[in-house]
Amino acid sequence: MRTRYLALAAVIATACTGALMAAQSGPPRPIYPANAEKASYAELDKLPDWRGIWQPNIGRVGGDQPMLIGQYKKRYDEERAKVAANPGYEIPEKSNNCEPPGMPGMMTMPYSLEFVFAPGKIIVIQEAEMMVRHIFTDGRPLPNEDEIDPNYFGYSVGRWEGDTLVVDTIGTREGQRLGEAGITNSDKLKINERIYLDKDNKNLLHVDFTFTDPEVLAQPWHRNHTFRRDRTWEILEYVCSENDRHPIDAEGQTKAVF
């Protein structure tokens, strides 16, 4: 009798699990590229040489000024006024307490970048906070905005135009730093990057950003950054939560924890 009950329980459990799995499975996902199993590492030889570690040229940013609108302009003006009135004030940002800045902030931190090429994908490593970003170069289209749950790094698709990598990113969560402290993005942000070696100096890398955000900016905002190559360095470990003794509260006040 006991054995019969156990068998019945097993049948019911199997049926329930099957129903659950059916409910969770969606339409089949496409494989990119369609010939993925034949993807060739030899194809990577055709790409420009970006090996080495890229150190930012801090403080040397080209481009134009942001034309902020609405609540984003109001907040920026308020935050700048607070800084001017109190030099000890820290503009509250999501990244203050060791949370990863995500995109686009991770590309322009005062720490080094490394680009790793793989068939169909480029991986960008940001040394600070050990961030990793994935850029798909396998021909897949950029998803629709409503297909992405907003996240730190968004969703990036890239393509090569000659020796320039052109990357489009959407799906970043709102409230991350956009360009500088005091400016944040909405979830409508679109980031376009053009990344290329300087034509006269192969040890200089350009990253030209165009930010488009209809809730934040009256017109696209251009920011141009450069990086210099070091072939001798390695990316070093950086765990931000290892010993953060300066937590910052929501009012922008820094606490020192000894």
Partner: protein, 137 residues
């Protein structure tokens, strides 16, 4: 061990701006228009990210002896500037110069340290360079 001159040259090549940049918070809590020199004995060396910390029992001239905390930049940046985790050790007699906390807490941002043998290690910021080249007498 590299000489101070060599270290200074290397720092200058890296660029002064590097010391002003930050990853997750600024150094707004320190008054960078002021410098305080504290003499004492090292009690703890934390060679860590996001920032390196050294603690000492010490006092500024005419002040009382307290536990002071000195914040450096990250372990990553210091490594690239050829600083090492054993440059300053627990038990060393040192003379730290810092940009002090605005709120009076006993601590500050690293500017320079004078070791017992007279050797200096200096940050890359402009104020630190000026201090190490002209103001350390």
């Amino acid at each position: 061990m590299r000489s101070l001159v060599a270290r200074t040259m290397f720092a200058a090549m890296l660029g002064v701006a590097a010391s002003l940049a930050f990853a997750h918070h600024s150094f707004a809590m320190f008054d960078q228009t002021k410098q305080v020199t504290v003499t004492g004995k090292v009690t703890d060396v934390q060679w860590t990210n996001p920032h390196v910390w050294i603690f000492l029992d010490g006092a500024p001239a005419g002040g009382k002896k307290e536990r002071w905390g000195v914040e450096f930049t990250s372990k990553v940046h210091l490594t690239r500037r050829n600083f090492t985790s054993d440059m300053v050790k627990v038990g060393d007699d040192v003379e730290f110069t810092v940009n002090p906390y605005r709120d009076g807490k006993p601590g500050g941002r690293f500017v320079a340290v004078k070791m017992a043998n007279g050797q200096y290690y200096c940050d890359v910021g402009q104020a630190a360079q000026v201090f190490c080249q002209t103001g350390k007498q």
